[in-house]
Symmetry: C2
Subunit: 226 residues, 2 copies
């Protein structure tokens, strides 16, 4: 039986693959496991039925038989431990791959999220002009360190692993901000991730959800343009 | 042979157990594994020798034979997988414990860190009075959700696990801010963690490092008070 994941009924990223279900879709594609997707509205995410799956009212969740998981990092790790393809052979190499998973989520993602939220929600605040460059500098410090590490390797530690999968999705949150482009090693790294057939299939699947929602009754095509 | 971890030569928390080596010290105490501790200065953390262990120039690191790890979450997971005591029996329960580890690091810690950094580094900025309450509200939203989950259980999912260990250390970052105190379930939860003998031993060990540094040549006792 397929696992079931949850995803946004209408993703705020407009189908650019930045929502966190993309990580799980991509991982499942890498290991050749199909899944069922249950779409949830923002209102439903805050209701008891969803909160019983995810105490913080977010997506994605993951249901597989009796098991219910939340947190994209934990779901990714679970998939990697149950299937071949996302963790290397050898206990030490596996531990190092997991270190990169945590680095993506706990060292790289927080300053990147802050930077993105500042642009989205604080652009009209009186402090934006002064504060935003500080946030960009924090992001650039981390990007520079990561870029130094990737200067002569394709992936973070040996072959592609769950650490790379997570790191690429975290770096993609900077898509459209013109920052990653200043770090050629990182831009190439993200492109390598995006070029993987499993990534492509996952990306198309989440885009199809957004396109169906956008074509649905909430925003009917106007007679003038449709 | 003992593993070796790194810790601040002089912790900016002044020995309150908020630095991230505390997580590893506590975990090792829980499983009965001693360790060697190598202290590093802020200057040394940015030098090539330390960057070879930790690409982002932080502490803690973990060395065990040929294995070098960074990221407190990854080190904690590694310890829990090698020793009994921090992960439950049963694959599903283990996966759920790991979900709480990620929740502590990726859902709870980022807004808590932002809140703390705002108080530390932005108090004199013109935007502090307007912006800080927003950050506190973000933290309180997460605390309220976590508190609801802990309203009738001692630990996050069954017995004490690595998820609780990490969550308690993350909540302790709010120590002295007068926020957790508004959530009696959370305050009791943190107190339960702090009451564990392994926590106490780890806390004393890191405090001893700070006290030795504070008594050292960098700040000699003045003749008047010494």
């Amino acid at each position: 039986m397929n696992p079931t994941i949850t995803a946004f009924e209408r993703s705020p990223d407009r189908g650019r693959g930045l929502a966190r279900d993309m990580r799980i879709r991509w991982a499942l594609e890498e290991v050749g496991q199909s899944c069922d997707v249950r779409l949830v509205s923002f209102a439903a995410m805050k209701q008891p039925a969803h909160l019983a799956l995810h105490p913080f009212g977010q997506i994605p969740t993951y249901e597989e038989g009796d098991l219910v998981l939340f947190e994209s990092g934990a779901i990714l790790l679970h998939i990697a431990q149950r299937h071949l393809g996302l963790l290397p052979e050898g206990a030490n190499a596996r531990a190092r791959a997991m270190a990169w998973l945590f680095a993506a989520l706990n060292t790289m993602e927080p300053p990147i999220v802050e930077y993105g939220m500042s642009k989205l929600f604080e652009r009209d605040k009186p402090w934006f002009e002064q504060r935003h460059p500080m946030l960009e500098e924090r992001v650039r410090t981390r990007l520079g360190q990561l870029s130094a590490h990737l200067s002569d390797t394709d992936w973070l530690d040996g072959d592609f692993s769950l650490g790379d999968l997570m790191m690429v999705t975290v770096l993609r949150r900077l898509d459209g901000h013109g920052v990653v482009e200043d770090y050629p090693h990182l831009a190439a790294y993200v492109a390598r991730g995006e070029a993987r057939p499993a990534y492509q299939r996952a990306f198309q699947a989440q885009l199809a959800v957004f396109n169906r929602a956008a074509a649905g009754p909430a925003t009917p095509p106007s007679p003038a343009t449709g």
